[in-house]
């Protein structure tokens, strides 16, 4: 097609979709490249170095990873993290489901109940930690007062190596429950009434209607919450920092806290990065496994 009126090449480039597209994404791509993409690679590089974050680093190969496999402190950090996750996820997700079902009905005071469940969500992790530090204080804490009032023995809570991690579970469930409940409530609104009516006509009892219709239809929400809570649980840090600093006797040193100690207290940047990559890998595996399970077990309504 011969045409004298074609604009010059530069002008056509600037007017083209490709140019417009890249111009639009450029700020975001630059920011994400600098603060996400480069750090991902760099972190891997650092994990292969002896790096104290100040002096020039030198390459040590897989030495950091090898050291990790022999580090009993790291092993117990993994153990604490897994124990925490294994309790936190079912308790918060299961509790949220029960609570969401209870909150999804029109009874008196429901607005207050909902508000009460949602409010801790906007409480910061630091504030949560501080309040629980007082509630669980062994000498003048509120919870020991309650135990005292009903004649049960006093506990050391966060100061007892055998109890501290469970206390952390309790305070994080308190802080996160509202999130899970909101997600479940939204999912419950999406359960079509006709399905329940059809099942009722088919003679299903209330409980079996819940178990055989509502729960499966909540599958996608459950899957999301399990993945989300697991990822969050593996990254637990703030509450530990504020309340126990990994103690007593290291009983609440979880992976991210150990990472923080190594990288920013002992300045073992390489070692810290290796820990971070192990965490990354764990999160990746958990996510993929759960998504794989989800594809086979979860029913989507569309």
């Amino acid at each position: 097609m011969a045409d004298r009126h074609r604009p010059p090449a530069i002008k056509r480039l600037i007017g083209s979709e490709h140019f417009a597209g890249w111009a639009f994404v450029a700020p975001a791509v630059i920011l994400i490249a600098i603060f996400f993409l480069i750090p991902i690679g760099w972190s891997l590089l650092i994990s292969l170095q002896a790096n104290n974050l100040i002096a020039p680093a030198h390459y040590v190969g897989l030495a950091n990873y090898k050291a990790l496999t022999k580090d009993p402190a790291f092993r117990s950090a993994i153990g604490h993290t897994l124990l925490y996750t294994v309790i936190f996820v079912p308790v918060s997700v299961g509790g949220a489901l029960a609570l969401a079902v209870a909150l999804n009905r029109k009874i008196r005071g429901i607005r207050f109940y909902r508000l009460a469940v949602f409010v801790p969500l906007v409480t910061s992790t630091v504030a949560t930690g501080l309040v629980f530090l007082w509630l669980l204080d062994p000498t003048f804490g509120f919870v020991n007062y309650l135990l005292h009032a009903v004649g049960l023995p006093q506990q050391q809570f966060l100061q007892d190596p055998n109890e501290a991690l469970y206390c952390i579970v309790a305070m994080t469930v308190w802080g996160w429950l509202g999130f899970d409940v909101i997600v479940y409530l939204a999912a419950l609104q999406g359960v079509p009434e006709e399905l329940l009516e059809a099942a009722e006509i088919d003679g299903a009892s209330k409980w079996s209607r819940f178990r055989s219709i509502v729960v499966p239809l909540l599958g996608p929400a459950t899957l999301f919450l399990v993945v989300w809570s697991t990822i969050n649980a593996l990254q637990l840090f703030d509450e530990i920092y504020v309340t126990t600093r990994g103690g007593p006797l290291g009983s609440t040193t979880v992976i991210v806290y150990y990472l923080y100690q190594q990288a920013f207290q002992f300045f073992n940047g390489g070692y810290g990065s290796a820990i971070a990559y192990v965490l990354f890998l764990a999160i990746l595996v958990v996510t993929l496994v759960q998504l794989w399970v989800g594809r086979r077990r979860v029913y989507y309504t569309s």
Binding site: E17, A116, V183
Partner: protein
């Protein structure tokens, strides 16, 4: 969906049995917050006596001014506000631009780029922590509010969320605007964004909540009290006054009030935003 059966003729309880579950749970959820407030009004002795004092001898509001002066609380507020508002603004702007291009413009490399951005969502922040610290150090922004803000100006989550929303808008509106003589940028700002207020509000709320409550990143890069945001400042207060529960709680209450106020005012929006992240 409501599971309630029609009212039964004979009831064992004068109220719905669900109250038996909800009332204690609500108490557990709300009591810590009420205690936080009560404690913040007690004297130092009352706050650390056993059994706990439920009704303080007077309303010792002076705890608040003591806490305010014990650490630079005013700076904490300003720093937190700057951190939150700047990251909200940055995300709204940069994510909108990128999300629009991903939703509507067919440009070379679009799909590959989008997948790469999505992949960054899988990476936990802790992996980025050390290199990001080094980058911010290179930029000369360690121990400054700018250093808090810059890495959080644009998130892949925001791009993804807005893109999904933009794609639900009828494309004819944008085509009509093109024929009416609107540029690409004009279409985004005059047509798409005004129609995307719910999604923008959701992104703003999520980002605000995240920045306001962020602790780990400030902990890493801030060393000077006057540069700390609230959550970090609160932990400084804890470090220096860890036996004065009344002061500590007064500080905690102050640090939570802005977020709580926003939540109570915009409860519906908060809930919608959170439900949205869950449903996607």
């Amino acid at each position: 969906m409501v599971l309630d059966a029609p009212p039964e003729k004979r009831r064992r309880l004068p109220f719905s049995p669900w109250h038996l579950l909800l009332a204690p749970v609500a108490a557990i959820m709300i009591v810590p917050l009420i205690w936080m407030a009560v404690l913040s009004l007690e004297t130092k002795t009352e706050a650390s006596s056993f059994p706990p004092v439920f009704l303080p001898s007077g309303l010792h509001f002076s705890n608040y001014s003591s806490a305010w002066h014990a650490v630079p609380f005013g700076d904490f507020f300003l720093n937190s506000a700057a951190y939150s508002l700047a990251t909200v603004a940055g995300n709204l702007l940069f994510c909108s631009l990128a999300a629009y291009a991903f939703a509507r413009i067919r440009f070379f490399g679009r799909n590959v780029l989008f997948v790469v951005l999505l992949a960054t969502l899988m990476v936990p922040f802790q992996v980025l922590l050390i290199p990001t610290f080094l980058i911010v150090k290179k930029l000369g922004m360690v121990d400054s509010v700018g250093g808090l803000i810059v890495p959080n100006l644009c998130t892949a989550f925001g791009i993804f969320m807005l893109r999904q929303f933009f794609r639900t808008l009828p494309i004819e509106l944008e085509e009509a605007a093109r024929l009416d003589g609107t540029s690409r940028l004009g279409i985004l700002f005059k047509i798409v964004l005004p129609l995307s207020l719910p999604a923008l509000a959701t992104l703003a709320i999520i980002q605000f909540m995240w920045s306001w409550n962020d602790f780990l990143w400030p902990l890493i890069i801030i060393n000077t009290d006057t540069h700390a945001p609230l959550q970090l400042g609160l932990s400084t207060l804890q470090g220096s006054h860890n036996t004065e529960w009344n002061l500590l709680m007064a500080g905690t209450v102050m640090s939570q009030i802005p977020m709580l106020a926003v939540f109570l005012l915009a409860q519906r929006w908060f809930i919608r935003s959170i439900a949205f992240t869950g449903i996607k």
